[in-house]
Symmetry: C2
């Protein structure tokens, strides 16, 4: 198995609202109001929004109902950009679980929670390389 993630599907209860939220962040989808799923090209992978009950059934797992132990992160190039992304997310309808601030691991980060309860850490990690395309590389 190659070490990569092709697709992250976020289960949602209100697809139109979730789609509008990610579009307001600047993400692009070809999905319209008639589509049952919204795919967003996200670098070399895809982020999908799909009905949470259908996703649970398709995945073959019972839904715990809340957060399930997965946090996504979006790394940026400066602490200032962390604050800018958090502000944009809040303006688009996210709640801030943690405002931007210095972290115990020596970076600067905050957390927003999307309208469906999925959290994103927005982080500046000075120890990880972020290339022009946004790809992250671990240090040697």
């Amino acid at each position: 198995m190659e070490a990569r993630v092709s697709l992250v599907t976020l289960g949602v209860r209100d697809l139109a609202r979730a789609r509008r939220f990610y579009e307001a962040l600047g993400w692009t989808t070809r999905a319209g109001a008639e589509d049952e799923v919204a795919f967003f090209q996200a670098g070399g992978m895809v982020l999908a929004l799909w009905d949470r009950a259908k996703l649970a059934e398709d995945t073959g797992v019972p839904d715990g109902g809340g957060w399930g132990g997965i946090t996504l992160a979006h790394n940026v190039r400066s602490p200032r950009e962390v604050d800018a992304v958090l502000a944009r997310a809040e303006a688009a309808g996210a709640t801030l679980a943690r405002r931007g601030g210095e972290t115990f691991w020596g970076g600067y980060a905050g957390v927003f929670v999307d309208p469906e309860g999925h959290p994103w850490e927005v982080a500046h990690n000075p120890f990880w390389t972020l290339d022009a395309a946004g790809r992250v590389t671990l240090p040697d």
Copy 2:
């Protein structure tokens, strides 16, 4: 906000077991037994394993305890490769939530659940491009 995911952190209760599972799948980490987190380079992003209670606290969310509405997917180049990855995951300690088979959307896929309860769909999607590096591109 650029459309990309930098890091997916999976909350785990038994880090050593989870690390061994992903290593058995062929993933590589520099983390050893003394480390509190294991990072795996996964294409242009990173997969991390970290204590689930600490992740919940750091994220600022209550833990629902089960699955939380996120399913990861790993796309491969053929139906046969789907079955091979599922078999390898099962041998490494995963449970199969869905055996490989044809899907309603015209592909071939199955689902394994890692030892910590995080599901992965393993899929061959004939409509999406998978390049040599494993990057997925949505159709135009």
